[in-house]
Symmetry: C2
Subunit: 206 residues, 2 copies
DNA sequence: AAAAAAACTAGACACATGTCCAGAAAAAAT
DNA sequence: ATTTTTTCTGGACATGTGTCTAGTTTTTTT
């Protein structure tokens, strides 16, 4: 019978649940101070757990962070993906994406700041490269349907880079206290994706 | 007479020269490991100076870094600004900018990585915000002439964010070992600035 | 040449931080 | 009820790191 394997699976599930709870607490701490400035003691305090427990569930600080980032990615990619699901009209896609990104700047500013922190770490520490590459690939996939030639990797790079750059810059402004309305933020993305960087439809000067 | 003040000025100039030399060495170390992972001992070793000297010339690690970043900014902004100087034709401006950015991705990859590291630090540590804001303002000014309405701050934000985002993403790819030619990199920027994200001039579908 | 100031060194100090361990407490299995 | 496994605690340990100080050497000034 599979009694033993069922038990083992239950154990594993319980452990995974604990890990997720721990990671959720860890994110709360990491969001505030960033990766480099968050100590394991901060995380332990936030999660009402003792310091030793962190190493009981995670090999080291890096692995804990990687786990956290994956958790975040699933949520965000799912959120945006859900908004785009089923939409085929290009203009509608753009509006949906713009609205989602704008809302997320306002609602999840700290989480995104953490993401950019990790992505930056990956530029120096190879340990983080796989997760970042994985997440970034899923973000690129999110954006791919907006491209006119979804197979042209150069075009996708430009598209993703541009959207991400605008997102990051608007996030930076938001975090600095320059609060724009969700509509204004959304318009920025529409402006980027609908027409060339500047201008709405046709403009008087060439 | 101004003998004394002349002497004092010479002293100050000499000290400044030393600081610049020290900062130049510091950048070499910082480029490799990033801000958080570079110790003052690394910098001391790189500059053939003793550890104590760093505090003799700079108040603390943060001030040293700020000094270094300013040094870098002057060089980069001057480089790009020089390429754009005197050009009035918009297409020529775009080509000049694209060429400059592309070349810099290949030639100064490590320095830019450091810049992004600092800019990221500023998202968490207020000490770095002024320098980053100052540098970013000068970069935005570099890009401003490309906008159709140089006074529309929302438009400028989108323009700067998009260019910076593409630059950062291409840099990331380059640092990951995906080496594109200067021409390909340059084309990416032209593609971004010349027309909407995808496609060249007019395209068949709407 | 003597005196004063600046440049520099070596090392200590305090503290933060990731890691690990011996054992207690709780839960699960027999 | 007993044993075994899992979960958890508290603290120790080693190391890295920014900062500072006492003293030395070099340069500059008189």
């Amino acid at each position: 019978m599979g009694k033993l394997v069922a038990r083992a699976a239950a154990k594993e599930a319980k452990r995974e649940a604990k890990k997720r709870a721990l990671a959720a607490s860890a994110i709360e701490a990491l969001k505030c101070y960033g990766y480099a400035n968050t100590t394991l003691r901060d995380i332990a305090a936030e999660s009402d757990l003792s310091l030793g427990m962190l190493h009981y569930y995670f090999e080291n600080k890096e692995q804990l962070l990687i786990y956290c980032v994956r958790l975040y990615k699933e949520a965000f990619a799912a959120e945006i993906g859900g908004r785009l699901a089923g939409i085929t009209d290009r203009q509608a896609q753009i509006r949906a994406l713009a609205g989602g990104l704008a809302a997320s700047i306002i609602d999840d500013a700290d989480t995104h700041r953490l993401w950019y922190d990790i992505r930056n770490q990956a530029l120096f520490d190879p340990v983080f490269k796989p997760v970042v590459a994985e997440i970034e690939a899923s973000l690129i996939d999110l954006v791919r349907p907006l491209a006119e030639s979804p197979d042209d990797s150069a075009q996708i790079s430009v598209l993703y880079g541009a959207i991400d750059g605008v997102f990051r810059h608007l996030l930076e402004r938001h975090l600095s206290g320059v609060h724009s309305s969700a509509d204004d933020l959304s318009h920025a993305f529409c402006n980027l994706l609908g027409a060339t960087p500047p201008s709405a439809p046709p403009s008087p000067q060439g």
